[in-house]
């Protein structure tokens, strides 16, 4: 039986722009089970990064606020947790890795110093023990000649290596959940494959769960157990990865998958989704995808649909008036 590691409910975060407060994510609800990778996928402005930052309480202040919602980690609500307690969790049980390792690593400190610092901070070990711990971590992320690397500075390493170092740092506190914000987007394809394989291995070894944020559907197919598709700050669809790709229900998911060129087969006509994502300060009423949706009916533009379960096992949900109707007894969606 899977245990619910993280339960996010109705999470709503807003940002202050020139003309007022606008929500970047609204009423976001999903769970993360133990030993699973949940992919948060979507395009710019969908709110996937904001979600991670909200969970970790790393939103830029001032100018942002969490309006409502809860994030239960082992039953404790992270929203509203005092900063001192949050800091204990961050970097230990809850780890995060980012897209640009050059800006996440301190260019003025050696690799060894930076990893040791994390160990020192969270485990209170002595410097010597911390450095040995750093060496172990570098080996765990399969950095060759780890011992010499300890004395290197970030600029001595390639992008892929730096990313491994960042992963090593995030492992220092034995995290239960790792949030990965586009960790391979800036890497070359072959290096990306290495890093994804590494994350796979680590997940198995450490029995870690991951929230993997990306815009690349190929990467999603590679890493995810379950997928949450986001659009315009809302959760559009959530499903196990095989179901999502085999049977995409939300019109956005379906249109997205159909519009992407493929390496493994011929695509005769791309069917691009017309239009643009509305900007955060001009979000329409109702379903935010409606204006670009070919299934749109009147109610779509007036009222936001609820997230409804659409299969008997209950693990595939969709937020859509047209496609989100309840299932019939035979498991077919009712339209």
């Amino acid at each position: 039986m899977e245990e619910k590691l993280l339960v996010v409910e109705n999470l709503t975060t807003s940002f202050h722009l020139q003309n007022g407060w606008f929500s970047a994510i609204e009423d976001l609800s999903f769970t993360l089970n133990s030993n699973e990778t949940l992919a948060l996928v979507g395009e710019s402005g969908c709110g996937k990064s904001v979600t991670a930052y909200s969970i970790m309480n790393l939103l830029p202040k001032p100018g942002s606020r969490i309006d409502r919602g809860s994030v239960l980690f082992h039953g404790k609500d992270l929203i509203g947790l005092p900063e001192a307690e949050m800091r204990k969790l961050r970097g230990s049980k809850l780890a995060m890795i980012f897209q640009e390792p050059m800006t996440s690593l301190n260019p003025a400190l050696t690799i060894g110093q930076q990893i040791a610092e994390v160990l020192y901070y969270h485990n209170g070990t002595s410097r010597k023990v911390a450095l040995k711990g750093a060496l172990d971590l570098l080996n765990q992320v399969k950095i060759p000649a780890a011992a010499t690397r300890l004395n290197d500075y970030p600029h001595h390493l390639s992008g892929g290596m730096r990313q491994r170092v960042m992963i090593a740092m995030s492992l220092a506190g034995r995290p239960e959940i790792m949030l990965a914000d586009e960790p391979t987007t800036a890497l070359d394809v072959t290096i990306q494959a290495q890093v994804l394989a590494l994350l796979d291995d680590l997940k198995q070894e450490l029995k870690m769960s991951m929230i993997f944020i990306t815009h690349d559907m190929g990467v999603v197919a590679r890493v995810a157990d379950r997928v949450a598709v986001m659009y315009g700050g809302h959760l559009a669809e959530i499903a196990p990865v095989e179901d999502l790709f085999a049977n995409p229900v939300h019109p956005y998911t379906e249109a997205l998958l159909k519009s992407v060129p493929r390496l493994d087969r011929d695509v005769n006509d791309l069917n691009p989704i017309p239009g643009l994502v509305p900007s955060i300060d001009r979000m329409p009423q109702g379903c935010r995808f409606a204006e670009r949706c070919r299934f749109k009916i009147d109610i779509c533009e007036q009222q936001l649909p609820e997230l409804t379960v659409i299969n008997p096992t209950g693990n595939h949900s969709v937020r859509c008036w047209v496609r989100g109707a309840q299932t019939t007894s035979s498991g077919e969606p009712k339209v």
């Binding site: 290096i191 290495q194 095989e242 011929d266 069917n271």
Partner: protein, 336 residues
Amino acid sequence: MNDQLLKVEGLQTFFTIKKGFPNPVTHTVRALDEVSFHINRGESFGLVGESGCGKSTAGRSILRLVEPHGGKVLLSGKNVLEMDKNQLRVMRRKMQIIFQDPYSALNPRQTIGKILAEPLHVHRLGTKGEIRDRVFALLKEVGLPSEAANKYPHEFSGGQKQRVGIARALLFEPELIIADEPVSALDVSIQSQVLALMQGLQKNHNLSFLFISHDLAVVRYFCTRVAVMYLGKIVEQGPVKQVFDAPLHPYTKVLRGASPIPDPTLSKKMLRMEGEVPSPLDPPTGCHFHPRCPHVTDICKKQYPPVISVDGERTVACHLYSQEQLTKGRDKLDVN
């Protein structure tokens, strides 16, 4: 062959870097090391590879935005590299470029209208009124409203800015457009829009494209032929479906295997390759790929493999495919 629009022969571009303290050593980066390919009229030719392979430098060298050090670039038979300033000016009208980053490709201080009109003014291609009309026509062609002419770049989204960049490339009615990662900085759904636009324009204007990208799926869609680059050299080239479905060079196999496919049943079993991309400052001896190659043999470490023609349309530079091997019979080769 009169169909050939562009023929690149043995193109070489080097960069020199001085590194080290207190006695700086001069390193030569062979960004392009004898690169040869050709593009026919109306066709899209893909150039793929990872960072440091030289694909961007290839595009810029052909346009002489970066000055090459050797080789020939024949545009309709005339060598671009030997042209003087005036001939170059005329040549510039036949070859244009689209950049990767829509945010830095447009002058933030100029309106879209000015950005598009200025080049026409500079080359005296029409009266004020004619230029105006042409700008509006181009805006329409790339799917932007005429009001866009009065607006500044920051008022547009990435995809729209890219459309302006495409319109700019069309100003002189070029024959060849060098597209340097034209959709890599765009959202996935916008990528499809822009690719569809580019395809339509290609048909309408009989354009040729040199399509530079790291994304194999996009190249497979857009291009008919492709060349795979690694550390300044082309390791394999041929019709795109053949190269991607049945790659010959070990690096191409790795590249293909590492590219994630949006299908969980296929994607989970991906290739794993060890090793870093070597620094272009200090490439390995012999075949550049040998440190990471699963099929490496002695000769690979000493001698760079010659370019071998396979099936007439494909070429590959790998010792696995030396002439003797080929004459022994292709079914003996492990193509997959």
